[in-house]
Structure formats: C-alpha cells, structure tokens
C-alpha cells in the first residue's frame, strides 16, 4: 500500500511540441531553454546531430529531435527552441518546435506507453499522461540517447 501512495506523486514536466504531438520531459533533467542559435555543423556524424553550439563558453552538441524520431522535416520558426538537458554527465541541446508550458503531472494519470505511438519507438517513452483534453507523451531521456546509440554515433565519425 505504501508503494501505491508513493506512486501518486506530482512531478513537473517541461512540455513542448514536436510535429503534431505534445511531449514532456522531467524538469529535473532540463538545464535551460534557449531560442534558436547559429549551429556549427560537424561533418561525419549521425544525421540527427545538428551540430554544436556555444552555450556561454561551453561547446555542446545539439540534436534535432524530429530527425531523431524520424518525424517529417520542417523549417525552423520563431517558436523553435533548444531544450538544453543534462543526461549522464553530458549536456546537450534538443531542437523542438516550441516549448509551451511547465505542467505538474501527478503519476496516477500516467499510463504505461502503448506498444507503438506516433512513430516514436516505445523504448523512449516513460509513459503517456492523460489530461482532460490532451495526451502528453513523457520521454525517457536516458533512452532517447542510450548507450548503444552513443557508441554507434562515435563509430560514425
């Protein structure tokens, strides 16, 4: 029972748009959100690696989340944002279509991810939060850039 109680916990999520879907990432993993910046391309890297940018003196890699998830390409707009996250000691930026809000989501409205949803491999998902009028896909960032893939990335170079 105590376990059940513990599970009904509220967590804050940064909610952003990508293609037609709404996604959320744990706010604890988000470093900051910046507007689109000039990004320097790095040759011989995986396609979804957009390049590197200068975050106040640090050089951080930036990935295009649309490309990462195999979603249709689109031009960057005024609302395009880079969500800077930190996972397993790496800081990196993710290009998303726009950041809308920070939401408190209590864990009792989060359901396990369905096998396949909107082209995004189920592995990347932590769950789906059902709000009154919409669904928010919660991302498991560690999986989005899991080790396996990281190794592949390094081999590309």
């Amino acid at each position: 029972m105590t376990e059940q109680v513990a599970r009904v916990e509220e967590k804050q999520f940064v909610v952003f748009q990508l293609s037609k879907e709404t996604y959320g990432v744990d706010i604890a993993k988000v470093w900051e959100i910046i507007t689109m910046q000039p990004i320097t391309k790095v040759p011989h890297t995986a396609e979804f690696i957009e390049g590197i940018l200068n975050l106040r003196g640090r050089v951080i890699p930036v990935i295009d989340l649309r490309k990462r998830f195999g979603l249709p390409q689109d031009e960057f707009t005024r609302s395009t944002r880079i969500v800077v996250i930190e996972i397993s000691g790496n800081t990196l930026g993710m290009i998303v279509d726009g950041v809308s809000e920070v939401l408190r989501i209590s864990s009792d409205i989060v359901e396990a991810p369905p096998p396949a949803i909107s082209n995004v491999d189920a592995d990347y998902l932590e769950g789906v939060a059902k709000l009154e009028d919409r669904l928010i896909i919660l991302l498991n960032l560690d999986k989005v850039l899991n080790k396996q893939e990281k190794i592949e990335l390094e081999n590309v170079g």
Partner: protein, 722 residues
C-alpha cells in the same frame, strides 16, 4: 591474489604520490652517488628518502615494501657510517632493490600481489650489508637477537627505564582537563599510561597506531604524545604517552597492551590532573602506583634476522633534523587545473566579445559617459583576464626535469647491457612545459634514447677503428624557442644512411623501387617514421618493446608536436622535437569555406598560396599543384567536410594552405584567409566523440563555434590513399 590496505582511498593516493616522488629521488640520487662517492649530503638525502618510504609503507600496512626499504636502509646506513664503501655490486643491489620497490608500489595501485621474489632480494641486500660489517658486527649481532631472548628484552627495558622518568606529566590543557573531570564524574578512572615499543621495530608508527587503537577500545583517549596525527606523519617515537579515561581496571588495560606485538614495557598510573583535585578523585591514592611490565611473550612479530638496530639511532637523528617546515606549495588535482583553464578560456572569449560590443556601443552613442566608463572597465577586465590566463598556464607548467630524471638510471643500465661506453648529458631540465604534454612525450623520448644506445652509438672498438673517441655521448636537451619548446636527442653515433633506409623500405614493400629513387635523402630518412620499418637487423631486449618510430611520431603529433631528423653518416644524429607550450590554447590560422570558419593550427602551416585558374592539375586521379617543382596533393576542405553547397565552383579566388607534417606536405583548399588568432581548444564532447579531420572546436569572438582542423589525420589520409 588481491591485496588490501588499511587506509582510505585518499590516503592511498597520497601515499602513491609521495612514494613516486621518493622512488624518483632515490633513483636519481643513487645514480649520482655512484659518481660522487664522497658526497655526504647526497647520501643523507638518499637515506632520508628510503627512510620516509619505509615509514609510510609500514603505516599503510605494506609489510613487504617496508621490509625491503628496511634492507636497503641498512646498507645505506653502513655506507654512511663508513662501514661499507660504494662499489658497483653494492650499487647494483641497491638499484635492484629499487626496481623491486617500484613493483611493490604498483601492487598498491593494482591491489594485485606481484610475484616478486622478495626473499631473494632481501637475501642479497643483507649479504651486501654483511659484506661491510667490521668491528661493530659483534656488538650488533648481539643486539640483533633481542626479540628472541627475554633477558635481552629486560635489558632493553631497563635501559629505557633508566633513560626515561616513569610516567611523566602530560601537560594537559584546560579542555583536556575538563574532559578528564567529566569522565571521572561518570565514575570512570583516568590513567596516565606510558608504553615503550621495541626501538628496533621496523614499523614503529604502525605499532604506535595499533597501541592507540587498542586503548581506544578500552576507553577514551584524552591526549596522546605523540598524537595519532603525528604518528601518521611518521613522527612516531618508541615511547608513547597516553592520557586515558576508562571504566576498566588498570591491570586489565596493562594486560591488553602487553599482548600487542613489539610492546616492550607498559606503565600505568592514575592520572593526576591538577593539584587542587588531587586526592579528591584519584581512587588509587595520590601516590603513583607504578606497574612495570616487561613484556616477555612479545615475540609475536619476530624481526628479520638481518635486522640491525643501527638504523634506530639513524632514524632518530633524521627525525630531529626533520623540523616541521611549512611548505610553500600545495598539491592540486590536475582536473582542477583543467577546469580553471577552461573557465579562463571562457573569460578569454568573453573578453573578445566585450570589446566587440563596446565597439558597437561607441559607434552608436559616441562619447557617452556611461560608455566611457564601460570602456575603462572593459579594458581592465581584459588586462586581468590576460594575467589570469598567463598565471594559470604557468600553474600547469612543470619543469621537464620531472621527466628527464628517470633517464640517467635508464641510460646507465642500457649502456651496461649493450656493452657500450656512453656519456649521458642532460641540459635544460628547468625548461617548463604543460604537464599534459610532459605525460605524452615520455614514451617517445625513451624510445629515442634506447635507439641511440642500442643502434646509434658504436661499441668502443668500432669507434676507435673509425677514429672516434671510445666513449660516445648522448645528449638530451630542452630549450625554449619562440612559442615552442625544443627537445633534442643528439648523439655522435653512426648516423642514418639514407640508402639503407631506401633499400629496407623497398624490401619491406613500403615504397616501390621507383619511388625510392625519386626520394631525396631527407625524405628517405623521414621514412624511418613509416610503420613497419626498422633498420636494425636484430631486435634487442632494449628496443624490443614493440614501439616503433611511427609511434614516436604519432605520440608527438597527438600533442601538436613534430619531430625532425638531422643526421650525418658516421658523425651522428639529432632528433629535434618541437612542442607547443600548452595544449589548451593554440595559435591558429582562421580560414573560411562557404562562409564557415575553420581553424588550422599554425604549428603545421608552412605557407599559403593564392590559386590561379588552371593551376590545379590532376595527377593519379587526384588534384595537386606544383609548387617550386614539388607536387603537392590537394584536399578540398569543402569536400572533406561534406559541405552541401551546390554548384558553386571556385570563382578564381581560392587559397591553398600548405600544411606540413613530419616532412609530408599537402595543400588544403579554402575560400579565403581570415587571419591568425589565439584559440581555446574545446573537445566535441563524449556524445559526438572523435570525428575524422576534426581536432576539436573553438569559440570565436562573435560567439559562434568553429571547428579546428586535425592536420595529422588529414595528411595521413592523403598519404595513405596516394
């Protein structure tokens, strides 16, 4: 077999650092001692290093290491006392002992027990030590049996008793007295306990710490002389004086202590904290009831047979001279320095940025007071940043001495093995270099020096036949030159024969005969850096480490260094290594391709050429240009880095940056040259990892990021394909 040490990781780390230093010092000084046999000061320094090492390894609980240092110390002590003279066999056994010590030290790092034959080396050490025993040997022999005979123990105990007044006052301060009073109020007893440890114990500090631990189990230690910190610092003496509060009876405590190894005598008395309180609290009465126990059954830890107590006196003397001096230096983790360097790098970028912003403000608001103020502040920040950058760069610098120091020993051994008479000269050890570079150049230098001894210098007879001095020389020198450090390895040996290299390279299929003919002598000599080429017919123990000259060059290139050969057949060879001062900040030529900016490290840039139409030729299906009669393969940066610009071919204005790497030259085709600039090297990070042709990234004054071109990898690519 796994090993375990009774120390925290931090303590082990500290021990390792110190041990490394002491081993280094021992090595250098021992080699020097062989030449300067009468240098007493040197001998003292060696003795001190060995002694400290013995103490700290014992504290750590590395008994074998302590035993070994102890054996070496014995010999050194005899030399110091004039009972032994320094001969080659003595030096050999000491140096051999040192090698064993290194292996034992590594055990601490790996926690794996090595299979060194400690018994053997201990045997040869004691044999060497015995060789010099003269008149005093009889007396020492008698004392050496101390641990086995209880009569002897009593003698020692008696001697100690005579020298030391029984249970002297502890001179407790107010806090400590308060501690005692509180203890007494809780119904506990306070004791003043005097413990004598066998002075011959080779692990005095360990024994002292054990004693303190035993006491702690039986009560609270109010004060101990020396304190446990002092003991850990290796300032232990054979007498330990402790103020203890405990609820145990005196006899019980005495009994516990008596059981400990190497405890010679225990005396305990109720503690009399102040005169005022005397009588009121001491249950046993004011008169001190002395209990003297000669520990008869203390032979639990028999000492090695070759143990001589002579060192006891020696160590006491050393301790006296070792007055606690406040060090002017601080040990800092390299990572901290790296972080500081990174932060300064950011400041450097911001400084440039600030200057640019200020320019924009000035042109907008002319001479507004605020802008003026901002200007002054900006200039000041700029100046401070520059100073900070210089200072931190300096903090990262180490004299190359730290690397060079291990070479004299190596050269001594190598020349002996090879049966050659070689004078090894070192110069410029004080030259400073970034520590990360020093780490990288160790192996290449060892390889060059080994080669010099093994292949270059001829045996004495051959030298005489050639009309040279029988003794050859190898000179290792370091010096500062402009923005570089030059390290040179020079010898007066055979010199390199370009024809032999040509023949060998053709034979091994590295180049064709036709190519070999076309190469000029310098180019042929540079072939020794090609992998798979070794002109030495036989691979000796010395050079058979599997490290070829190609590795030498690769290692040097890793730190943006280069190596050049100057050789004259029959006269000798000089390897000239050119290294940057630091790795973190380099000077680069900034170029642009399709409006993308790239930085090319200036160290590898030879010249720039403006291309005119039709200058590019196709040779072997590859683009190349001819510069002063030489064919220069070309590489288009645009193609190299997959720029996806369509159709735009050169508009007649293209530049070629000629880069050089160990004699190999090639041209990088770029759109335009921007200029020279200092850039701070940043890695692309773990996530992206290594990218071919890219050495890292840097942040430009306008905040944008530019890639740094990795010239060595490009040259290799082109050379391989061609």
């Amino acid at each position: 077999m796994g090993l375990q040490f009774d120390a925290s990781p931090d303590e082990i780390k500290l021990f390792l650092e110190e041990a490394e230093e002491h081993l280094q010092l021992l090595e250098e000084d021992l080699v020097r001692l062989e030449k300067e046999k009468d240098n007493q000061e040197l001998l003292q320094a060696i003795f001190r290093a060995a002694h400290t090492l013995k103490g700290s390894s014992a504290t750590l609980g590395h008994q074998r290491m302590a035993q070994l240092t102890h054996g070496m110390e014995n010999i050194l002590d005899k030399v110091r006392k004039g009972q032994l003279s320094i001969t080659t066999p003595i030096m050999d056994v000491l140096l051999e002992g040192l090698d064993f010590l290194k292996v034992l030290k590594e055990e601490i790092e790996t926690l794996e027990e090595s299979d060194v034959d400690l018994e053997k080396i201990l045997g040869s050490l004691s044999k060497a030590a015995a060789g010099g025993q003269t008149a005093s040997s009889a007396a020492e022999g008698k004392l050496a049996t101390i641990p086995e005979g209880s009569t002897a123990v009593t003698e020692v105990a008696a001697a100690v008793q005579a020298a030391e007044p029984a249970v002297p006052s502890m001179a407790l301060d107010w806090d400590e007295k308060d501690h005692v009073t509180r203890g007494k109020k809780q119904g506990k007893m306070a004791y003043s306990i005097l413990v004598n440890l066998a002075e011959t114990s080779e692990m005095l500090s360990v024994r002292a710490l054990l004693t303190l631990m035993a006491l702690r189990e039986n009560g609270e230690i109010v004060k101990s002389i020396p304190s446990s910190e002092e003991i850990e610092r290796e300032e232990a003496t054979s007498v330990l004086h402790v103020a203890l509060i405990s609820d145990r009876a005196k006899d019980q405590i005495v009994h516990v202590l008596k059981e400990l190894p190497d405890v010679v005598r225990v005396e305990a008395a109720p503690l009399d904290i102040t005169r005022e309180e005397a009588g009121a609290s001491a249950p046993d009465g004011v008169t001190v009831a002395k209990t003297t126990v000669a520990a008869n059954e203390q032979a639990n830890a028999p000492l090695p047979k070759d143990e001589t107590p002579g060192n006891g006196n020696g160590s006491a003397k050393i301790k006296d001279t070792k007055i606690a001096k406040v060090s002017r230096t601080v040990r800092v983790d390299v990572e901290l320095l790296d972080n500081l360097m990174n932060l300064v790098g950011e400041l450097v970028i911001d400084r440039t940025r600030l200057a640019q912003l200020l320019g924009a403000l000035e042109s907008k608001y002319d001479s507004n007071d605020l802008v003026e103020d901002l200007n002054r502040t900006s200039v000041h920040i700029g100046r401070v940043t520059t100073l900070l950058q210089e200072e931190i760069m300096k903090a990262r610098m180490l004299p190359v001495e730290s690397l060079f120091n291990k070479f004299p020993r190596m050269m001594r051994d190598l020349s002996q093995q090879a049966g050659k008479d070689i004078e090894f000269i070192m110069e410029g050890q004080e030259t400073e270099l970034d520590r990360s570079i020093i780490e990288e150049i160790g192996d290449p230098l060892i390889h060059l020096l080994r080669n010099a001894v093994d292949h270059a210098i001829e045996p004495p007879e051959e030298r005489v036949a050639k009309g040279k001095k029988p003794q050859g020389y190898v000179k290792l020198s370091a010096r500062h030159e402009e923005n570089h450090i030059i390290i040179s390895v020079k010898e007066d040996g055979r010199g390199i024969d370009p024809d032999k290299i040509r023949a060998s390279a053709v034979k091994k299929g590295i180049i064709t005969e036709e190519v070999a003919r076309r190469l000029n002598d310098q180019e042929a000599i540079n072939l020794i850096f090609a992998s798979g080429l070794s002109t030495a017919a036989k691979v000796s123990e010395v050079s058979g480490r599997g490290v070829g000259m190609d590795v030498v060059r690769n290692n040097l290139e890793k730190v943006n260094g280069s190596v050049e050969i100057v050789t004259e057949l029959g006269k000798g060879t000089e390897f000239i290594i050119k290294l940057p001062l630091t790795l973190a900040i380099i000077r680069a030529l900034m170029v642009s391709v399709d409006s993308r900016v790239y930085a090319i490290p200036l160290g590898s840039v030879l010249e720039t050429i403006r291309l005119t139409d039709g200058q590019i030729k196709e040779i072997n299906k590859r683009e190349a240009i001819v510069v002063r009669g030489r064919v220069l393969p070309l590489l288009r940066v645009k193609e190299l880095f997959n720029h996806q610009t369509r159709g735009v071919r050169e508009s007649g204005k293209t530049f070629v940056v000629v880069v050089n790497l160990g004699g190999q030259q090639m041209g990088l085709v770029v759109d335009s040259l921007i200029g020279e600039q200092e850039v701070v090297i940043k890695t692309l990070g773990k996530f992206i990892g290594d990218v071919q042709g890219v050495a890292g990234a840097t942040i430009l004054g306008d905040g944008s990021v530019a890639l740094i071109v990795d010239v060595p990898s490009l040259v290799k690519k082109v050379v391989k394909v061609g």
